[in-house]
């Protein structure tokens, strides 16, 4: 009998994910099932409320990608009632979004993903001098002296010897799939800690504009923080220079720590350039408008879709407001649709929870039937992967200059073909490439903001349609963003100034969804197929591929 391996809980993600796999006789994953095991009912809680409040509710879907739902939400309300936000608001939102993406990717790489590749215990046997030499050979980052690593090593040794291993307890240390030499492991542990310290600095840009992070403030019609270059209360020169400094430091960290580490680690795991490819269909709504959110041509991360790993063509016809393009199915999800519909466009969407899984506690889910709290989104009836890899591929095919250069540089440095991008390694590399690119945007936005303010434009909010009495009695809107994990959409229906319906389709819903009505797997499920396992008891390889998507299950089923 085929062996069934269950991994639940999956750690180092956001939310509650359960993976069930079936192994073949060679201990390769033959089949995989992805189940989201939490649901909160945000779409129902939103009904009847003031659409201007929706951003705060939807923001609480996730505290990791803590800005993107707020952005999608204010955009969908603005779209519905016809608000055009001022130029400064566009720039500030872009800057906040870019900040989020950069910080989230950094945290993902070091704190959520790294332990899949880095053996902490092996670092104890590293020669600090060797680590120092490696560090200095790949980067000018100053914290690289032998003494620095020696100190770290002795701290680490004491920590491990204390017997209290904390977050490292029961990790897969010594697993044969770990390939890094001790010296590189030690380097990675050092940067794990440095990144933990640094991530909290980047996010201060959110605090400046939104008052706090996680969950900074937004507002329908613009941004809440006024600008007065000569004032002492709002955005002024002091705050602007603080932002500039943060952007400088962020770019330095990415260029001198993240990217060199990524490449150094990837070199030992090139075999993962052929594992975990999955669907081969990629979708991006695009984001970071240079003009207006309704002008996809101006997006710095372009819109489009790639099917069947075809790097010669991007389908430009991605229109989430077209009722026939995006639909959510529930064939394997614990929901019902009135009228026995198979699939619904979010503007017609329904959320009627109905658990029909096994009685608790259970050993296995009944994966032939319904087995997840996630719905199953489809684009033109295709299962799609979204996220950094999708964005990078679409930009690459569309010939966005910097992306083409960076991707080619990485491929060359790792000495792998473009096809290696369709893989677990590709996903992880794309996230780094994107992080570098988006951090570059941050500088642009800073410059744009300063130029605008210099020219005397300090407007950040459009009040003309603030009052719901001036809104159409019945209207629908779509708001979206490219979240760190991919294409995010919010669809709203407003009646008499109140939310009549609100539907959210999230990047991780696309990626972590269960099978559709035709039995076709979601992106995680597809990517896990064929994963070799050295020891079925120790699911390290499963974690690698699943983590390469950066799962967020609270987002995925909300």
């Amino acid at each position: 009998m085929a062996r069934r391996i269950v991994v639940d809980p999956i750690p180092r993600i956001e939310g509650h994910l359960r993976i069930e796999t079936v192994l073949d006789e060679n201990n390769n994953v033959a089949d995989a099932f992805s189940s989201g095991t939490m649901w909160r009912g945000l779409e129902l809680i939103l009904k009847g409320r003031d659409p201007r409040d929706a951003w705060a509710f939807t923001q609480r879907i996730c505290g990791v990608c803590t800005t993107v739902h707020a952005i999608a939400s204010v955009r969908c309300v603005e779209d519905a009632v016809g608000i055009k936000i001022p130029e400064n608001a566009r720039i500030i939102r872009n800057l906040m979004n870019a900040t989020q993406q950069t910080q989230d990717h950094l945290v993902h790489f070091y704190h959520l993903h790294a332990l899949d590749w880095v053996d902490v215990v092996s670092a104890l046997s590293a020669d600090p001098k060797e680590t120092s030499e490696i560090a200095q050979s790949i980067s000018p980052w100053p914290k690289s002296s032998p003494g620095y690593f020696k100190d770290l090593k002795s701290r680490l040794t004491k920590f491990v010897e204390s017997g209290q291993l904390g977050i490292f307890s029961n990790g897969y240390w010594g697993h044969p799939a770990y390939k890094l030499p001790p010296a590189v492991n030690l380097l990675a542990v050092a940067h794990y800690l440095e990144a933990l310290d640094f991530q909290k600095e980047i996010i201060k840009i959110h605090t400046i504009f939104g008052g706090k992070n996680p969950h900074p403030s937004y507002v329908v019609g613009g941004v809440p923080t006024a600008i007065d270059p000569n004032g002492d209360k709002v955005i002024n020169v002091e705050r602007l220079s603080m932002i500039k400094k943060i952007i400088d430091d962020t770019q330095t960290f990415i260029d001198q720590v993240y990217i060199p580490d990524l490449l150094a680690v990837a070199k030992y795991y090139k075999d993962w350039g052929a594992i975990g490819g999955g669907l081969g269909n990629y979708l991006a709504y695009g984001d970071f408008p240079e003009t207006d959110i309704h002008d996809p041509g101006s997006f710095k991360w372009p819109r489009g879709a790639i099917l069947n790993k075809d790097l010669s063509h991007v389908d430009e016809d991605v229109n989430p407001t077209d009722l026939s393009q995006i639909k959510e199915e529930i064939a394997h999800s614990w929901y019902t649709y009135e009228g026995d519909k198979d699939s619904l466009h979010p503007w017609e969407g329904q959320t009627n929870p109905k658990y029909s899984g096994p009685e608790l506690p259970y050993k296995y889910l009944d994966t032939d039937k319904k087995y997840s709290w996630l719905k199953t989104p489809r684009w033109k009836d295709n299962p799609m992967e979204v996220g950094p890899l999708a964005r990078v591929l679409i930009a690459y095919v569309k010939g966005v200059d910097e992306i083409v250069d960076t991707v080619n540089f990485v491929l060359k440095d790792l000495d792998v073909p473009a096809a290696a991008l369709f893989s677990t390694l590709g996903r992880t590399a794309a996230r780094g490439i994107e992080c570098k690119q988006t951090a570059g945007f941050m500088r642009n936005y800073y410059d744009q903001l300063v130029a605008n303010v210099k020219s005397g434009d300090t407007k950040v909010f459009d009040s003309s349609l603030w009052n719901p009495e001036r809104w159409p009695k019945d209207c629908k809107g779509f708001g979206f963003t490219e979240a760190p994990r991919g294409a995010l959409g919010h669809w709203i229906h407003i009646q008499n100034g109140k939310i009549a319906d609100y539907q959210i389709v999230v990047p991780s819903t696309w990626n972590a969804s269960p099978r559709d009505s035709k039995g076709r797997p979601g992106a995680y499920e597809a990517a896990l197929k064929g994963t070799p396992m050295a020891d079925p008891e120790l699911p390290l390889e499963i974690l690698r591929t699943v983590h390469s998507f950066d799962p967020c299950l609270a987002c995925a089923s909300h």
Binding site: A56, G63, G166, G211, A226, L360, Y362
Partner: protein, 359 residues
């Protein structure tokens, strides 16, 4: 098991000298409202106590409490996780997965019976047997109860665990319940906020570590040190409140001058938190400073006390959303109408009475 390191030893091992260690402790002491008097006690605790094991569970939540936690500036989170506590089980940071991870939880519960801290982020759905949040094939509700049984104390992180937060906002589709309604017989500290301020979280832990017990709590189970006063009482815009100088619309003249956000719906006058004193993310700002009214995110029921941009809360009234003034006006109108009708009745009666008298 090997000899456990004390905090002082860890500091020393990290090359941190005695002076810095003292500085760090006095900073903590001030944060915890202990002042200089608390310092010796704290030093002693830090120098002699091994790391407390912590099991950190996630229920219905958004993980922003963890995210906030890792933004702590003093102490930085690496210090806490590697040196102050032993964070043995945490979905968000743990290396182990699946049953290896569950094994850690079980082991800590056994080995440190009555000595570990249970930290809970999020809350538990109680409807339909708890199927709205399942971990390792069982309900989170069961997991929570099981893990709480032998805990020394429970920390409820965030408004979710403390009061229910967005998940028990109307109509509470999953029957979500805060921790203190599900666990009894254990000391529980509520650390509300959506999320709580990082240094409030780490400060609460530091207190526990120092004194081996929970900080002093208020009537709603919150540490007095951090939830003792309202945002409004320490708000930098307060002088504008008293003066009656209010922002009337985002980006208006008042907004640019930093006037009071009361009329934009600010809930600072009814919200207990440290935002206006400690501020966020290493003191950079807080929502009100950055121009947005406080939405009251550390208060029970704050989602149902909206809408966020008006001063008066919505009050459901005969099937519609209304507010105190609208309901009041309707009631006065009804009384006036009743009086008018009665007056007409009285006039008719009087006429007939008078007629009767004349007869």
């Amino acid at each position: 098991m090997k000899e456990k390191q004390t905090y002082a030893e860890i500091m020393e091992a990290r090359g941190i000298d005695r002076r810095e260690f003292m500085k760090y402790c006095s900073l903590l002491s001030v944060y915890l409202g202990l002042g200089a008097a608390g310092l010796p006690r704290m030093l002693k605790a830090m120098e002699t106590k091994p790391r407390i094991p912590v099991i950190w569970l996630h229920g219905l939540e958004c993980t922003c409490c963890t995210e906030s936690f890792i933004r702590s500036a003093h102490p930085v989170v690496a210090d806490i996780v590697l040196n102050m506590i032993s964070l043995d089980y945490d979905d968000t940071l743990s290396a182990a997965a699946g049953h290896q991870l569950e094994a850690v939880r079980k082991q800590i519960m056994k080995e440190y019976k009555g000595q570990y801290i249970l930290a809970v982020e999020g809350n538990a759905p109680t409807k339909d047997n708890g199927v709205y949040c399942m971990v390792a094939g069982d309900s989170f509700l069961n997991l929570l109860k099981e893990t709480a049984a032998d805990a020394m104390a429970v920390i409820s992180w965030g408004t979710c665990a403390s009061f229910g937060c967005v998940h028990n906002a109307k109509p509470n589709p999953t029957g979500a319940q805060p921790v203190h309604k599900l666990i009894s017989g254990k000391p529980i500290v509520n650390v509300p906020g959506c999320p709580p301020i990082a240094e409030v979280m780490t400060g609460t832990i530091a207190h526990l570590l120092t004194f081996g017990k929970l900080p002093e709590l208020d009537r709603q189970g919150r540490p007095k040190a951090f939830y003792g006063t309202r945002i409004h009482d320490k708000c930098s815009r307060r002088s504008y409140f008293d003066a009656g100088m209010f922002v009337e619309s985002f980006d208006d003249e008042g907004a640019q001058k930093g006037w009071c956000l009361y009329k934009m719906g600010c809930k600072g006058p009814t919200t207990y938190n440290s935002c206006s004193s400690m501020k966020w993310n290493d003191g950079v700002s807080f929502p009100i400073q950055s121009g947005h009214p406080c939405i009251g995110c550390s208060e029970p029921n704050f989602w149902d006390n909206g809408p966020f941009y008006t001063r008066l809360a919505n009050v459901p009234f005969v099937g519609t959303d209304s507010n105190a003034d609208r309901i009041g006006l309707v009631a006065v109108g009804a009384a006036a109408a009743g009086v008018a009708a009665h007056a007409i009745g009285s006039a008719i009666k009087k006429k007939s009475d008078d007629n009767g008298t004349e007869e």
